[in-house]
Amino acid sequence: MGINIFDLLQVTIGGVAMGCIYALMALGFTIIYNALRLINFAQGDMFMLGATFGLTFYVSLSFPFPLALIAAGVVVGVIGMVIERTVFRPLRNYPLFNLIIATIGISITIRALALLIWGSQAMSFPPVYGDKPIKVGQIILLPSYLWVLLISVMFIILLQLFFTKTILGKAMRASAQNRNAAFLMGINVFFMDSLASAISAGLGAVGGILVAPIFFVETEMGALAGLKGFAAAVLGGFGSIPGAIAGGVILGLAENLAASLISSTYRDAVAFIILIGVLLLKPNGLLGKKAGDFKA
Amino acid sequence: MVNNILKLSGVVKKFGGLTALDNLNLLVKEGSIHAIIGPNGSGKTTSFNVVTGLYPSNAGKMEFNNQDISRMLPHEITGLGMARTFQTLFLFKEMTVIENVLIGLQCRSRYSIWNYLRVDSRKTEYEKKMLEKAEELLDFVGIYQEKENIAKNLPYGKQRLLEIARALGTRPKLVLLDEPAAGMNPQEAMKLVETVKQIREKLNVTVLIIEHNMRLVMNLAEKITVLDHGAKIAEGIPSKISHDPKVIEAYLGVVGSRKNIRAQKQLKN
């Protein structure tokens, strides 16, 4: 194989960068699962909405990129909150299977609305990260991946700080662990649900806008990203926050390594082969206690 | 000589660092009504879960009807003739009462798909016979009039009786009842005593029962095993157990407090 150590390093950094995006998606799945015991198949569409709103803010409204990023995150977060209030909360006592299908209904509706607003054409996002490769010795690094890596790691750290240092974050964790006890302690568990839905959606949106300058922006872009984020969450152990991060990074790395070392044809299959492998060998994931304790 | 239908020797069950069953030995005589009592968290329900194969044991040997069941799965053990009820009800909630019992009755069916695709005239007759048996059992526990109702709509006490009927449907030699009187009012509990006695007299089924209602236990059981912290601390006939200071202490904490003396009186009754 004609691959040297420097290429390998480059592939690794690219993989970890994509892995961080998967981690953001996996965190979205995890946070909403912890709060509502729900697999939210509309998570991929939050990713898409992040990219499309980001494009509108950055190009049409000429926001600076950091502001566009935050604005997209906030707008999509609000959408997440609205979904929780209008669909998830009224359906709280419905069979879980119905709820899962409801998230798919949301996904279909959002995608259709996005199609009406932004059209079916793939749009390109201006190159905000700059396209001059950075040379460090013999290693050639694309600035886009470095920026993606940097910003997503920042968001992951912020999230960790939120969960461990703030009262609100602690309250959210408490309500995820034992809803009734949290309720009795005076925590507004319903607000925690809304917040969880908003944070999940916002994280998805950040992932979407971060990769928008690298790929094209289109209304179908969330489907595969959503499923890969889901695979990452399962790999890490569904419901575990450190697991989601680890799962995402491992997935991104494995995907990039497999694509460059073996064949890029089945690049997208790597995530799902890992998913099946995990279920066969370690069904509770790397860091999870018990995955998939839900039924129809 | 009377046979021991259930024999546990040195059974250990650990959950992580917690020892839920500590070297438990137990002999249940065939044809007896045997009670297990003990304070909350003493391992009573765990002992049922281990015996019936729901949890694998960490050590020890369990024999049912002279057959080693230590490594068997719940459905295999049920097939040998051991049935149980649950402290936290596990009925098939959306099904009718009679369907719940029918599932118990069909427990030795070989579920091969070809059997059910084939047209077979004997099948309707078989179904009819099953229905009759199910109705008999519902009558036996006294909820025949509810047979077409959905299980989850029954009042709590009747749900408990349905669990018993369903367990009896599997035609067991030994039935394990986990707090069957919990949530029943005194009249219902009195009727339950009669039903449990009938299970032994009429159906010739050995009964192993966990119960908190002391009056009920003293009325029913021929032998009582007392558990504390997963270990057996006393065993014997009811009158002996109710006077055993070790039992009183384990059960009631410090001997001599006002609350305990009252409880002790209750125990003696």
Binding site: A269, K295 | A83, F86, L102, C107
Partner: protein, 329 residues
């Protein structure tokens, strides 16, 4: 009595069958007849999926993959190996069922929705293999020239002729699965759905029965796939992906999980509803999504469940009315 009721209904089923025989004379628009044919194929799959999800409570989010495996198996067997359709049809079912066994065996042994998760993965992998293994599957273009089957020298090459084949097979599937549903086995499946722990203590080997029902449902999906390939005359990766898997789940949920009529009603209503929504042009998907959420909110047990409950309530009211008259007299 549920058991007796099912027997009365058999007369109605015969009537429906006779009605269906005349359908091609009523539905003369070839496009709608084609849509009806597609619906019949999906009904075969949905019947299996309803057995799995509606009765046994196991979720598969990858059934389109088994549908696709059936379609490709049939296409490859008949074109490359020149095997007759009548042999390829069961072989497609068996191939899909075999893959189903390989997936179901390890994942259904565990408690929890591992099958749901694994089936997503299998669905995506199958899709990628179909698209990328060009030498075997024809890649994105798929395989063209799948022939219509012959029956006693008559080629079933028109939608009208194919309709009769589909009606017969769909009825056969309906009857055979109904036999299972009405039997002890069906009751055991429902017990697993309701309360897995208790089901074990009723002597049910839950792992074995779950694998069994999954294999049956993937077999039916494979059969449906084969029929689809020979109706359309080609196979391609489109229509066997995640969205289609979800589409099947939506159909059985909208029709009514755990109702025998559920898959039939769900497939027909959703297929023709989507056709109707075409009039709304670019808004059609929005309406479809909103309709879906509304069905879940307002009819949580699906259309069949909704009417079943309505009928029961009416009957109860009638009984109580009679009771009143009785007491007045």
């Amino acid at each position: 009595m549920k058991i007796l009721l099912n027997k009365v209904k058999q007369h109605q089923v015969v009537l429906i069958f006779i009605f269906l025989l005349f359908t091609p004379f009523i539905v003369t628009n070839i496009y709608y007849l084609h849509l009806l044919n597609i619906s019949l194929i999906m009904i075969i799959l949905a019947i299996g999926l309803n057995l799995l999800t509606g009765y046994a409570g196991q979720i598969s989010i990858g059934h389109a993959a088994f549908y696709g495996i059936g379609a490709y198996t049939s296409a490859i067997l008949t074109i490359r190996l020149g095997i007759s359709f009548w042999l390829a049809l069961p072989l497609s079912g068996i191939t899909a069922a075999f893959v189903g066994y390989l997936v179901g065996r390890p994942t259904l042994k565990l408690k929890g929705a591992y099958l749901a998760i694994a089936s997503i993965g299998i669905g995506e992998i199958t899709q990628l293999v179909m698209t990328n293994w060009t030498s075997f599957t024809g890649g994105a273009l798929g395989i063209k020239g799948v022939k219509s089957p012959d029956f006693l020298g008559v080629s079933l090459d028109s939608d009208v002729r194919y309709f009769y084949l589909l009606v017969i097979i769909a009825f056969l599937c309906f009857f055979l699965t109904s036999r299972i549903i009405n039997s002890e086995l069906g009751r055991a499946f429902r017990a697993i759905k309701e309360e897995e722990v208790a089901a074990q203590f009723m002597g049910i080997d839950i792992a074995r029965l779950k694998v069994m029902v999954f294999v049956v449902s993937t077999f039916l999906a494979g059969i449906a796939g084969s029929l689809f390939a020979h109706l359309e005359g080609y196979v391609s990766p489109y229509g066997f992906g995640f969205n289609q898997s979800i589409g099947f789940l939506i159909m059985i949920l909208a029709g009514g999980l755990g109702y025998k009529s559920g898959p039939i009603i769900g497939v027909i209503i959703l297929t023709f509803a989507r056709e109707f929504f075409r009039f709304f042009n670019e808004y059609q998907l929005v309406i479809y999504g909103v309709l879906l959420i509304s069905i879940i909110v307002f009819m949580p047990s699906g259309i069949s469940g909704f009417f079943d409950k309505l009928m029961k309530r009416l009957k109860k009211r009638e009984v109580s009315k009679h009771g009143k008259q009785h007491s007045e007299a």
